[in-house]
């Protein structure tokens, strides 16, 4: 597994194994890379060649940054993304991730790739991030997006960092066009919705899921009940919250755990019919990215379907 996921690029073979004098060594490799790039032209497309300052060995350590990097950067410039992004249950870019090497968030896997840009989440792979920073690598830490505006900012930031600002703007424009389309359908009544995650966690006010719910023209029941951010909600409270829509954010791939078993508790199946149950997999809302527009679309579609069956007042 190690060999296949860390195939080195031609330029790196010249790298000395000594640990000292890292920056100068990296500069040397950089020069070597440019020279080699001319020789192995098929690996580097024409656009990249136009911009010599563009990072060419991008590493991403976090599922959410994987998503943006794989969408925005040229595949040839992505040296490695996290192993999670190949998991179809949580990743929206699993197909793209199959085409690049993966890492498990260990510094040891990253350093041999000699990355010129590393993306990491603010809360993940902390030991690796600390080590990479100490070794002088350029690490960009991306916070968890909590609103659509923050998602737009992050797309711009990542697009700029990988040297593809136009692609970022295009992606944002596509998202906004779809959101505008949804905004035209103003709901008559805002249905109350609750999102239940594995282990009984729910997303309250100020969370990404909250902004998805609001953008879909619904009301987040967890926020109404005083939950902020990510908080655990006892099943008793879930059962008595009396919401219109209960969304179970669980994967149905038959991998058992106590955390996901909670979503199959008999009490949820026996809730009165006025509460509609839906399953929406985690890949829509684990990260703030273009996929969240799809989550908003699905939610407003669900809401529209429910409103259609409602008796009109």
């Amino acid at each position: 597994m190690c060999d296949s996921s860390h195939r080195r690029r031609p330029g790196q073979r010249t790298k000395p194994r000594k640990k000292a004098a890292l920056p100068s060594r990296r500069a040397l490799i950089g020069t070597a890379m440019i020279a080699v790039a001319a020789l192995v032209g098929h690996a580097v497309n024409a656009e990249t060649a136009d911009r010599p300052n563009k990072p060419r060995r991008i590493v991403s350590l976090n599922l959410c940054t994987d998503d943006l990097v794989l969408r925005l950067a040229d595949r040839a410039n992505v040296a490695s993304v996290s192993w999670l992004s190949r998991d179809r249950g949580i990743s929206n870019v699993a197909d793209l991730a199959m085409q690049v090497p993966i890492n498990n968030g260990f510094a040891e896997q990253v350093i041999p790739l000699d990355p010129d840009l590393v993306f990491a989440g603010r809360y993940t792979a902390r030991p690796a991030v600390a080590l990479l920073k100490r070794a002088g690598f350029k690490v960009l830490e991306i916070d968890i997006a909590r609103s659509l505006d923050e998602v737009r900012d992050q797309i711009r930031m990542v697009a700029g960092a990988v040297g593809e600002p136009e692609r970022g703007e295009r992606l944002i424009a596509e998202m906004d066009a779809r959101l505008d389309e949804l905004a035209r359908k103003v709901p008559r009544r805002r249905l109350r919705v609750l999102v239940l995650n594995p282990n009984g966690f729910t997303s309250g006010a100020g969370s990404l899921v909250d902004s998805i719910i609001v953008a879909a023209g619904l009301k987040n029941a967890a926020a109404d009940l005083g939950y902020t951010g990510f908080g655990q909600m006892p099943l008793e409270k879930v059962a008595t919250s009396d919401v219109d829509v209960l969304i179970l954010n669980g994967r149905h791939d038959g991998l058992p755990s106590l955390a996901t078993e909670l979503l199959h508790h008999p009490v949820l199946a026996r809730l009165p019919p006025r509460t509609a149950l839906f399953a929406l997999p985690p890949r829509f809302w684990s990260c703030g990215g273009p996929a969240m527009v799809e989550a908003i679309e699905r939610l407003s579609h669900i809401a529209a379907g429910l409103r259609a069956t409602e008796p009109s007042e």
């Binding site: 006892p234 409270k237 059962a239 008595t240 058992p256 755990s257």
Partner: protein, 339 residues
Amino acid sequence: MRSEAAAEQHARSYPTLVIGLAALVLALFCISLAIGYAPLDLKQAIGDAVAGRPTLAALVLTELRLPRALIGALVGFSLGITGAAMQGLMRNPLAEPGIIGISGAAALGAVTTFYFGIAGTVSLALPLGGIAGAAAATFLLFVLAGGGVGTMTLILAGVAINSFAGALTSLALNLSPNPYAVSEIVFWLMGSFADRGMPYVLLVTPMMAIGWALLLAAGPALDGLTLGEDTAKSLGFDVGRLRLQLVGGAALSVGSAVAVTGAIGFVGLVVPHLLRPLVESRPGPLLLVSGLGGAALTLAADIMVRLIPVTPELKIGVVTAIIGAPFLFSLIYRLRAEA
């Protein structure tokens, strides 16, 4: 030697003790039903549930609170009675399912069937896994420290079984393909009654009941065993069969208990220890009262867990350990003083 008068007094006070403990269990059971996270009008909820009205209150009562209280009582009874039986059989006050590794091995058995999807296809596999683990540990314990060996050997055998089972449980959780599995080791090591639904109650009750019956039936033989193995044999008790019966009973009750709630420590230690003076140290009568006492202790601990405002909810094993560990210390201190 007990005097005739004391024996007579005991014969009179034993039913009182059993009824008193049963009343305590019932009271705690009702408190457990009344306590929860959602405001609930218990009277109305019971009325709705009995009348079959599918209100939210009835739903919370029947699908969440009732199974939780039932599991609390069943598991506590199992742990208490098994502790008393093990202590009687090994003639050692430290023989407790948690300390000597039976619970840990049961957790390993349950984890293996649960995380690798066997319990998902055959639901009975979960308690059977726990029972197999518990039986293996009890058997191993007898091989290592069977038949009246010193406390030291027993405890060391328990330490060995416990750490081995714990390591293998951790390994099984690491190998599980579900990303949540690894963090769930706390449940298996510390136990919880939270959100275990009615299907689990129905799944484990028959097995537990068989286990209790096996243990309770061993009462007279355990009394005979207090006079020594040879005397017990001369009194007509088959000591080999007794051992097998107790190992089977312990495995069935603790194995199925741990399979649904994780390992909850110290219940089988504290309860028989507290109640032993009340039954004049006779292991036979101690069985039933320890079961009831165990049920009362776990119900009380589970009530406490829900009253302490900590989220995520405290694991019940944390509470029983805080209560139980001082008992263990005092027992060890006393054994040391006797040595």
